[in-house]
């Protein structure tokens, strides 16, 4: 009951404040009248009676004010009136308000945009049911050389999958999958689509039900069973117009008719991959070897099982796996003991996020620092304003306003500013997100899922309040603590500024300079990284003039490998005939294209290896003209010819670093011999090419062996011709990237076979830039933040010095009158600015040298404590501070002494 009454009063006080007020007024007046009547009855004259009544009452308004103070909701009321007052204050100084609000809008907006990404990418669970139970199956294999180190471990082989899924005790379900490409024909133009080939257990592990139809059944996974396919939502919309009757229809996938059995819902991705088609892997559970290790494994833990238990469970199964399978007659199944394979499972989320988290946290801290600088700047402005309002505050205090009341008034003003800024920040964040999505690194996962959500809006709101409280509390701390008497005394403007107050403003400027220094140092380090990356020779030249595209000839279309190579050859010939094409070639994979063609053992003739097994090297399969088209220099020897290829001559080309490692020099390598394993004939090294940084400019170039595009399969008992079915054409032309040129390429390909789609049409420049995306993204963010920091600290220094000039006008007048030189006066102010800046630089240098270590992973070719950066940036800041203080200093020195003395 009392609660109901209280609530009723609360709303009455709040909503009908006018009526409550007039009631109160009438009540108190009536009381006064009655007192007067009483007094008259006692025999006083009316005037006397009224006077006595007033004395007893003690002031109408005072009584009313006392009632106000006990009324429920009064607190809210006075905050409202504080807000109204704040708005009036800001209308009086629109310039100050606009600067503060805009600075905050930018600062808070940038923070919410980045928070949004961090929230989505790092904090949100993956979009699968109970996604914390999902595990990415990676193995550690320190003995496997490049095969394992190139990714974050060793992937699974189908035989491992069979052994692990049959015998494990810790997983509910398990599957393997691999991304690929397939040609879809028969539905409009031939098209190459992205496929995910999934084993039994994969969809069961992810547990996302299909939108239409059904998952693959066990029967679909039988290699001899019916051929089926599932569609992604996007592909279903794009190719079938979202037709609900699509289940049951047939499509030709790599010339293989397949029945559509289901459609996955919108937003479903295969871990971090967008795809068009899901295809059952059809693992043959009988005819498997130990190798190949090219499949991503995914599994769902049983409830309450820990990763460590799962690791131990699978560790136990690795010897079982080696006992159960072999790589064919005559091979040693326990060879892989040398690889020292151990499970190194991690959560699927960790797998998806990867090392992008370091970039995101760096960016988050950058924008955080920018906001801090912005807040200090506003705090500084607030201090200056509070100083000019000194008299007003003193009068309020003298009239009986408590410290708490004044503090609240000032805080409310700050929060009103920050909330206005925060509201604008939502717009800034929205624009910023568009920018992030457009300019963010390509490997930023789940970018498509990013949008402004409730959580980020709440974040923006809280951030606004906190920044308001932060920069509002600094002037309060100074002024309310200072005490009333002092405030009144100092309100007299003729006094020179109190040292204490000047000091708090100076501290803010020092903090600003320090933070700006940290940002600028980081930005400069990134610029130097970028410059270092640009000077690295990637192993190809003029990437903008190199057009690449992939053509896959499905085995089901042309089963004979010799005919496949002939078809690739005639496509190359057709392309070479296009005007403007200087050279053309093809290979299994282009540098930085994202996929490695192959890794295997390679032994050099006459060399013995520790443990008897040669190391694993990267292989690529190339056509004549490939190196010339890409711009990779021949260092020694010669390129392949088509005669070499069709003659199946035992020849290879190797990279320069492999030649130096094996024979000391490229020239010495020519004519030497290598082979994959003992039953393969020796292959002659006919040429040496320069090193190519196939994994990106910031990664070392691995040794590579280039095999001819067609060769005898070394693993089959009798010689069988083999060659890559999917190759990337590399075409050097001035017209690379032009739409018209691409149409010509398409005509050339279709003149050979009209069922072949062109895929991944990119210039080498695009591929190259994409590998730099992470660096350039961080660089752009840091450069923006750094320049904002610099600009804000220049404003900060300018503000402090010009304020000091205006406060000391009288003093300047006296100095000038006494004969002070103008340049001495100027120097006096510039010197004080420089002193502040040096302090800031000193603090900033200490902070920066600690913080840049966190950026180490992003840097290339430059030490985190790069001396060049650590000298240039402080100089730049010092120069900026001289500039910022020079303007007010010059104003001071130009003062007319007479005007200055009369200034107050």
């Amino acid at each position: 009951m009392p609660l109901v009454a209280k609530a009723r009063s609360f709303f009455r006080n709040l909503l009908f404040s006018g009526r409550v007020e007039s009631d109160l007024d009438e009540e108190v007046r009536a009381h006064l009248e009655m007192l007067t009547d009483e007094n008259i009855r006692r025999g006083m004259s009316p005037a006397e009676a009224r006077r006595a009544a007033r004395i007893e009452l003690g002031g109408l308004d005072r009584v009313k004010e006392q009632v106000h103070e006990v009324q429920i909701g009064n607190w809210l009321h006075s905050v409202f009136s504080d807000c109204r007052f704040a708005f009036r204050q800001f209308r009086k100084s629109p310039g100050f308000t606009a600067i503060a609000v805009l600075t905050l809008a930018l600062g808070i907006g940038a923070n919410s945009a980045v928070f949004n990404v961090v929230n989505r990418v790092l904090l949100h669970p993956l979009p699968y049911p109970e996604s914390d139970q999902l595990v990415a199956l990676w193995l550690d294999a320190p003995g496997a050389g490049g095969l394992a180190s190139l990714t974050s471990g060793l992937q699974l082989s189908p035989s491992m999958y069979i052994t692990f899924s049959d015998h494990n005790q810790t997983f509910q379900s398990m599957g393997i999958w691999t991304s690929g490409r397939a040609n879809v024909t028969g539905v409009g133009q031939p098209e190459e689509v992205r496929t995910e080939v999934v084993s039994d257990g994969t969809l069961q592990t992810l547990e996302v039900p299909p939108l239409l139809g059904r998952w693959f059944s066990h029967a679909d996974q039988d290699p001899r069973g019916s051929k089926t396919v599932m569609l992604s939502y996007g592909y279903w919309e794009r190719r079938f117009g979202g037709d609900p009757g699509v289940v049951g229809r047939m499509v030709q996938v790599d010339a293989q008719p397949r029945e559509i059995v289901g459609v996955m819902p919108r937003g479903f991705r295969m871990v971090d991959q967008d795809f068009d088609l899901l295809i059952p892997m059809g693992v043959d559970r009988v005819h498997q070897k130990l190798a190949p290790f090219g499949y991503d494994g995914i599994a769902r833990l049983k409830h309450g099982t820990l990763l460590a238990q799962a690791n131990a469970d699978i560790a136990r199964l690795i010897p079982v796996w080696m006992d159960s399978w072999s790589n064919g007659p005559g091979t040693n199944p326990h060879y892989y003991e040398r690889w020292r394979i151990t499970p190194n499972f991690h959560s699927l989320k960790q797998q998806v996020i990867g090392n992008i988290s370091s970039v995101l946290w760096v960016v988050m801290s950058i924008v955080g620092v920018v906001l801090l600088i912005a807040c200090t700047n506003i705090a500084n402005l607030m201090l200056v304003r509070a100083e000019s309002r000194q008299l007003e505050l003193s009068i309020r205090a003298a009239l009986g306003a408590g410290r708490g009341r004044i503090a609240r008034q000032l805080l409310v003003e700050s929060v009103v500013v920050s909330l206005t800024g925060g509201t604008l920040a939502v717009g800034v964040a929205y624009a910023g997100l568009q920018l992030l999505v457009a300019a963010g690194p390509a490997d930023l996962p789940r970018l498509s899922e990013i949008s402004l959500d409730l959580r980020s809006l709440a974040f923006t709101f809280l951030l606004s309040i906190f920044s308001g409280l932060f920069f509002g509390s600094i002037p309060i701390w100074r002024y309310v603590r200072a005490g009333r008497s002092k405030m009144l005394a100092e309100g007299n403007r003729t006094a020179t500024t109190g040292r204490a107050r000047q000091r708090s403003r100076n501290t803010l400027v020092i903090a600003q300079v320090a933070m700006a220094l940290v940002l600028l140092v980081s930005a400069t380090l990134m610029i130097r990284t970028f410059a270092a990356l640009r000077t690295v020779e990637p192993g190809f030249s003029h990437p903008a003039n190199v057009q690449t595209m992939r053509i896959s000839i499905p085995e089901t279309l042309i089963p004979n490998p010799l005919l496949v190579t002939r078809m690739q050859n005639s496509i190359a010939d057709q392309i070479a005939a296009i005007p403007g094409v200087s050279t053309v070639g093809f290979s299994s994979a282009v540098p930085m294209g994202g996929a490695d063609p192959n890794w295997d053992e390679l032994s050099v003739e006459g060399k013995t290896y520790e443990g008897g097994e040669p190391p694993i090297r990267m292989f690529n399969y190339v056509s004549p003209g490939y190196f010339k088209a890409l711009g990779t220099r021949m260092v020694a020897g010669r390129d392949f010819t088509w005669a070499d290829i069709y003659g199946l001559r035992p020849m290879v080309i190797i990279s320069e670093n492999l030649a130096r490692e094996s024979w000391g020099s490229p020239v010495a390598a020519v004519g030497k011999r290598v082979r994959q394993f003992s039953s393969m004939p020796w292959q002659e090294v006919i040429g040496v090419v320069e090193d190519v940084r196939v994994h990106g400019v910031d990664k070392d170039a691995p040794p590579i062996i280039y095999w001819p595009a067609m060769l005898n399969d070394p693993y089959t008992a009798k010689p069988t011709i083999d060659g890559p079915n999917s190759v990337t054409f590399v075409i050097r032309s001035e017209r690379a990237g032009e739409q018209e040129f691409i149409t010509k390429l398409q005509d050339a390909v279709w003149s050979v076979n009209s069922d072949l789609p062109l895929a991944s049409i990119r210039t080498m420049q695009e591929i190259y830039s994409r590998t730099m995306a992470r660096t350039s993204f961080t660089l752009v963010m840091l450069a923006i933040a750094g320049s904002m920091g610099l600009a804000l600290s220049i404003i900060g220094i300018y503000g402090v010095i010009s304020y000091a000039v205006s406060r000391r006008t009288r003093e300047i007048g006296i100095r000038l009158a006494l004969g002070a030189q103008k340049h001495e006066l100027r120097w006096m102010f510039v010197r004080s600015a420089l002193a502040l800046t040096s302090f800031g630089i000193a603090v900033g240098l200490i902070a920066a040298s600690a913080l840049v270590r966190l950026m180490k992973a992003l840097l290339f070719g430059v030490s985190p404590l790069d001396p060049w950066t650590f000298i240039t940036v402080p100089l730049l800041l010092a120069a900026a501070s001289v500039l910022a203080s020079h303007i007010p200093a010059r104003r001071a020195s130009r003062l007319d002494p007479m005007v200055a003395l009369r200034y107050e």
């Binding site: 009951m1 009392p2 109901v4 009454a5 209280k6 009063s9 009631d23 109160l24 009438e26 009540e27 108190v28 009536a30 009381h31 009248e33 009655m34 007192l35 009547d37 009483e38 007893e56 009452l57 003690g58 005072r62 009584v63 006392q66 009632v67 103070e69 006990v70 009324q71 429920i72």
Partner: protein
């Protein structure tokens, strides 16, 4: 407590309460408007008393207060508490 007690006899306006308290405490307590009105409003918001507009003896519009059920309960609570306190203080004073 005194305000609640003064209303037991019936509804009163502000001045009436003030005078009644003077009367029942033999002039010991003189409640000034500066304390009276805030207290009345607070008690009204607590739901112990309710207010309505009425006419005073000499036909002036005045705000009258009346004890509610909750107010009566509260008065009992306060009486009981006061009894305890005054007894305790008296005990304390008597103890040497």
């Amino acid at each position: 407590m005194l305000i609640l007690k003064s209303l037991v006899a019936g509804e009163k306006h502000g001045l009436g309460i003030s005078r009644r308290i003077q009367q029942i405490t033999s002039g010991t307590f003189d409640v000034k408007p500066g304390s009276l009105f805030p207290a009345l409003h607070r008690m009204e918001e607590e739901g112990w008393i309710s207010a309505f507009w009425g006419d005073s003896e000499n036909n002036r519009r005045a705000k009258y207060y009346r004890l509610t059920k909750a107010g009566q309960r509260q008065l009992e609570v306060e009486k009981e508490r006061w009894g305890r306190i005054s007894w305790a203080i008296a005990q304390a004073l008597e103890a040497s």
